[in-house]
Point group: C2
Chain length 324, copies 2
Amino acid sequence: MIMKRALVTGGAGFLGSHLCRRLLADGFAVTALDNLYTGSRRNVEDLLDNRCFSFIEGDVIDFSTEEMFDEIYNLACPASPVHYQARPIFTTRTSVIGTMNMLELAKRCGAKMLHCSTSEIYGDPLVHPQQEKYWGNVNTIGIRSCYDEGKRCAETLCADYIREFDTDVRMVRIFNTYGPAMHPQDGRVISNFIMQALNNEDITVFGDGSQTRSFQYCDDLIEAFRRYMELPVERIREFFKEKGLGAPAINTGNPGEYTIRELAEETLRQIPESKSKLIEKPLPSDDPKRRKPDITLAKELLGWEPKVPLQEGLAKTIAYFRTR
Amino acid sequence: MIMKRALVTGGAGFLGSHLCRRLLADGFAVTALDNLYTGSRRNVEDLLDNRCFSFIEGDVIDFSTEEMFDEIYNLACPASPVHYQARPIFTTRTSVIGTMNMLELAKRCGAKMLHCSTSEIYGDPLVHPQQEKYWGNVNTIGIRSCYDEGKRCAETLCADYIREFDTDVRMVRIFNTYGPAMHPQDGRVISNFIMQALNNEDITVFGDGSQTRSFQYCDDLIEAFRRYMELPVERIREFFKEKGLGAPAINTGNPGEYTIRELAEETLRQIPESKSKLIEKPLPSDDPKRRKPDITLAKELLGWEPKVPLQEGLAKTIAYFRTR
C-alpha cells in the first residue's frame, strides 16, 4: 500500500505539531515545513526519528519542491498579536504570498488543501455569534491589520483558485484555540494565566474580568481538520452552493463562553500550590471584543462539535506547561 | 536646475496618462510603467517624443530598476469589474505584490509615494456617505473580492511601511472617476452610455434608473493628487494623528449625486444625432450599491474640492470618444 503524503506548513508550531502527530497516526507520510519564527523544533523533536516524518526548516513564502503531496495543510503564520505586530509586513507576506505559493503547489500536485483562516477576519464583529456569511468589520490601516487583512486576502486567493483552476481548497476559520505546545510567551490569556500562576506572579485580569471568551481545545480542532479533508470535494461544493456561500469556509471553535475571571479562577484551582493573586488592570485600547463562533455549518457538514470541556483541556495544558 | 523624477505605475492607463501630462507640465521628468493589460500605448503616444518622458512596458509586480525617483505614483491595477474579474488572481497580485514592490522602491529611494486606493475598500457600505474612519463591508470570498481585498491589503502594507520604515506614503481612496482616455469597454456606466449613444444602440438602464451614482471628472482627481504630494510629510502626519486615523488615507470623489436615468438623458442630450433609446434591464445581483464620498478631510487638508460639473466633464468625454 502506498502511503498518502501530507505537507503541513507551520508544522513545528502549536497546532501544526498536533496535526503532524495526528496525520502520522492516521497513516500519512508527513513533511513539516516551518521557519521557526514562532514554531519550535522542540514541538516535533520526538517525531524526528519516525521514518514517516520529515522536517524542513524553511519559509512558506519561498518554499519550493519537486515532491508530490496528496494533502496540504496551510497553517504557517504568526497568529498572536505580540508576534505578528513585531513583524507586520512579514506577517502579511506570509499570509498572502505564502498562501499563494501553497495554492500553486496544490494546483501542480492536484492536492487537496486545507487553508487555516481565522475568526480575526470578522474583526470587531457587529453581529453575535458570527456566521460564515458575515462579512466582518475590519480596519485596513490599524496595528492588527497585518494579520486580519492578510488573512482576508488569503481567503480571497483560495476562493479564486477554486473558481479559476478548480483547485480543491477547504478553509477553516479558527476561533481561539489552546492546548499543549502553545507558545508560553504568545501573550494570549490562557498561556498568560498558566505561566503567571506557575511562576507565582500576579494574574492580570484586564478590566473587571467580566468580558467573555470562547476557548477551543486543540484536539477538537484537529478532529475538524481531518473530517473536513476526508469529505469528497463534490459534497463540499454542493453544501456551500446550497448555503449560498461563495467558497467553502467554515467556522471551527467552541461556542461555550467563559468570563476571563472564571478562567483565572479555574486556573488557580488547578494550580493549588500557586501563590498568585488576581489583580485588575485597565483594558488595552485594541483589546479584541467578544467573538463567538456559530458552528452550525461545521456540525451539519462534518458531524462535528467540540468535545473537550475547558476544565479537562486546561488540566492537559497546565500539565504541559509544568514540564517546561 | 535638476528636474524632479516621477514614476507613474499604470502610466498608460486612463488616470495614469492624465497624471503623466500633468507632471510633465509641472516640470517633472516622468517615467510611465504599464503592462498594457488595460492601459494603451495610444494614451501616451503624443508624449513619446518628449525627452522628459519615458515609457516602460513592464509589470509593477516584478519591475526593478537602479534609477532614483523623487515621487512614485502607484496607479497600476485593473479597476473595472469586467477586467479584474477576467483575471482575479493577477489582480490581487498586482495590488498586493505590486504595491509592496513600489513601497520597497520608495524606501530605497527615500521617495514620496502616492498610493491609489479605492472606494471599493468600503465594499457595500452600511453608512452613507462614507468617511475615512469607516471600516467597510466587504465579502472576502466573492467575485469582486480580488479587487476589494487586494486593495484593502495594499492599504495595510502602506500603513505598515509608514510605521516600520517611516516611508512617506500618502493614500487616496478614489471614488467613481470618468473622462477622456477611459477604456471604451471597461463596462462602466459613463463609457457604456456614451458608446451606446454613439453607436445608436439601446442605452441599457439597469433597474428603473433611479439609483444614484457620484461621478468625479479626472482633472479634479489629478489636482487632488498633486496637492497631496506637495504637502510636507510632517503636516500630513500631524493631520491624521489629530483625526485619530492610523494612516494617511483620504477620500477623493465628487459628492454630487445623479440618478442613472439623469446620466442617460444628459448623454443623449449631448449626442443629439443618436438614434438610441433608453431600455430597462433587471439589476445584476452584484451591482455595486450607492457610494458617496465624504470629502471633508480632503477639503480641510488639501483645500480641494471637485470643480468640473458633470455636464462639462461629459462634453469633454464625449468629444474624446467621438475621435475614436
